[in-house]
Structures are given as C-alpha cells and as structure tokens.
Amino acid sequence: MANTYCTATNTGHGFFTHQDRNDFYLSGHPGDVWVVGNNAAGVSWINRVSGTAKTKADAQAIVDGKMDEAIAAWNALSAEEKARQLEPVKYTLP
C-alpha cells in the first residue's frame, strides 16, 4: 500500500517541514484530509500532528462532501462570478 490517509488540522509553521517533504509523500485535500506516504517517516508525522487515521474510502467521503459543498456554493454564484472561477470538480484521492 503506497499511501495512508488521515485528517489533521494545519497548525501553520512547522506543520510539515522541508525535511518531511523530502522524507515522504504528502498532499492536502478539502476537509483537512491528508494523503501520506506509507513509510516510517510518514507514520511518525501522523503521530506528530495528532492525525486521525482514515481508510481511503472514509477520506474520499470527506473530500467528496466538501466538494459537494463547494459545487453548491459555485452554483449559487452569478453568471459573472462563474465566469471568473471554474466549477469545482470531484476527484479521486491518490
């Protein structure tokens, strides 16, 4: 399994460091979902940021819910506002 999944609140400076980015794969998604490379450094990072482990399906459901909210908000925009911002699109977590 290449990745693990968690939720964690980005606390700002030091939440993830340059060293973290060199040590494991990391990407952030709506709903405070983080996709984390499945190695010792990645597991250590989840513990350091007090992340809550999620299955991929659970993480995807959180992201989908946030994207549904974003799509609903976009649909409520005026035509002019819609022209400035592309419609949000659901996507699959890596």
Binding site: N10, H13, H18, E80, R84, V89
Partner: protein
C-alpha cells in the same frame, strides 16, 4: 590504532557550535559541545507549511518576500471583508489597517513596508475600478488612479517604479513612477492572473486566464516592450510567482488540462525554459505569491473557495540546507 589524521593527513575540524545550515553545506565537523560529528547537506527545493492567515481568502494581492509579506484584498466567504490587510513576519500573520476601497483581483507590488494595490473589482457586483492605493508600512493612502480599470492585472516592481500588466481580456501595460500611471507597450497576448515577476525594467509574465480557458504563454519585458519566450509546461492562470526575469518560480493555479480546477504544480524558469520542480503540498488556485521574493525563497498565500488551502501558506526553499548528525561506531 591508526588515526584519521594518520590515514588522511588532516583532521576533522572541531567547532564549539554548529554554523548556520547554509554555511555548513558540504562541511563535516565535530561539535565539541554536543560530542557529535555533523554534516551539512544541500537538497533540491521543496515546500513547507507557513503560518495560517487570520481570514481565509483568495484572488487577493501581495507584496514583499517570503519572510516579510503584505497580503491584501481578496474574496473571503464574506465580500464585506475584501478590504482586509495582513502582515507576515516569517512565522505568523497579523491583521493591520484595511484598504480604503474593498476589492478582489487587484494587482499588488512592492514590499511589506512600501506596497501598491491597484485596480481590481469591487464587490458586490464586481465593478472594475481604477483606484490605486499606496501602503507606507502603517496605512493605505489613495493615489492617482490607473488608466484602465480591469481585474486580474498583475503588479510588478516597487512603489516608485512599478508595472501593472494585463487583466481580463486586456493587454494593457502601465508604468508607475511613484506618482502617476503612464500607458506603455501592451502585452502580445491579452490575459489576466498570470505569474508576474521582476522589476519595471526587466520582467516576466507567465501564463494567465483567457476568456474561457488558460494559457501557458510567457512574455519577457525589457523595459520597453514584451516579447514571447518559451511557454510554461502546464498552461495555467490564477497562479503565484516570485523571482526575476531570468530566475523565476510559478506555482499553483488553474490548469488547462487537469480534470480539477486547481493545481499543485510548480515550475522553475532559468531564463530560457521551464522545468517542473516539487509540487505544493496542497493544490490551490487564486493564490498570491511573494513578488519581491526570489526563485529560491518564495511564499504561496491563500487560495480560492474551491480549494482546501484558503487560509494556508507554503514556503519554498531551494536549495534546502540541513545539518545532520553522523552516526559513528
């Protein structure tokens, strides 16, 4: 027992404290205070998390460097807050005095202590405005208006020598001398919200939004006119940028071909061509950069409501200097 000096003819240097990480690159030493061998290393650029904004928003503007930034205007959840200004000290953001005129999609230029905010759209309704304001480190003052009202134009340079380039379906290019704006030679391709870097006399404007899409078109400014140079690898608009005409970084934005409207992709410009480098941790569009920053030290701030990064910032360091402890037996 053979000694290291006996074998190699020299000893490992002994220091009572570690040098800075950048000074230590490529060095090996013994730290006599901690009793440990240390090694200074250097690796390719990556992004780390920066301090979180107090008010999440995108489609704003910024001025300054990675560690001394001003972030102003933008589209937060409530349009009544589009006059907010925040200041970054390299660790945390603090709110400071608001803009005089609420707006989003303005241009921004200058530094944390001397900045410009020009044009943009005023909510609600999205009316294009010509207002230009100057920041003196404490508060905003109304200055002479730009000549062409537009949104998505990019500011480049400093408060006494700035460029205001492009805009929605607009190729206009104006120069500012600290007092007034003057129309000068247009962009070759009209577009908004590209990545602007450099100075009034030597600049780069990469990518941008076209009506109904994005482009990877890249133009170079020699102080007199724009000329086309090599395109971005990934067409995008609403991206951030830092650096100069010959060494620049473009990050995030809305890509043309990606199935999602946000991108984590980052590209580095060496004066001739673009190279993909390490991604942002979080894909984002509607971001602001650090226009007075360099291609090696950049700050990505904010993002659009469709992203997860509206309040987040990320800091780019290239190279990344690290001091490591050597394990000995």
């Amino acid at each position: 027992m053979a000694t290291y000096k006996g074998i190699q003819g020299y000893t490992v240097q002994k220091l009572s404290s570690d040098p800075t990480a950048s000074e230590a690159s490529g060095q090996l030493w013994y730290n006599s205070s901690t009793g440990a061998f240390k090694l200074g290393t250097e690796s390719a650029g990556v992004w780390s998390s920066g301090g979180g904004l107090n008010t999440e928003r995108g489609f704003a503007a910024s001025a300054g460097t990675q560690t001394a930034t001003l972030f102003f205007a933008g589209e937060p959840p409530s349009p009544t807050k589009s006059d907010l200004t925040e200041s970054y000290n390299g660790t945390a953001w603090s709110e400071t005095n608001d803009l005089l005129t609420t707006r989003y999609y303005p241009g921004g230029a200058g530094t944390q202590t001397a900045a410009l905010c020009m044009s943009g759209q005023r909510p609600p309704g999205g009316t294009n405005i010509t207002n230009s304001e100057t920041w003196n480190g404490t508060s905003w003052t109304e200055g002479n208006n730009v000549l062409a009202a537009r949104y998505g134009g990019r500011g480049i340079g400093i408060t006494t020598a700035a460029l205001f380039t492009g805009g929605e379906a607009n190729a206009a290019n104006e120069t500012y001398n600290g007092t007034s704006w003057t129309e000068t030679n247009d962009l070759n391709t009209a577009r908004r919200s590209g990545g602007g870097a450099g100075l009034q006399s030597a600049a780069l404007y990469a990518g941008g939004n076209l009506p109904g899409g994005t482009t990877g078109v890249n133009e170079s400014w020699d102080g007199t006119s724009w000329s086309e140079v090599n395109n971005l690898n990934t067409a995008r608009g609403q991206c951030g940028a830092s650096g100069t005409k010959t060494l620049a970084l473009v990050y995030g934005g809305t890509p043309e071909s990606d199935p999602t409207p946000t991108s984590a992709k980052v590209e580095s410009w060496d004066g001739t061509s673009w190279t993909e480098v390490a991604d942002l941790a979080t894909a984002a569009t509607g971001v602001s950069g650090s226009p007075a920053g360099t291609a090696g030290l950049a700050l990505k701030t904010g993002g659009s409501p469709q992203t997860s990064s509206q309040a987040s910032t990320e800091e780019w360091n290239d190279p990344v200097y690290t001091i490591k402890t050597v394990t000995v037996s």
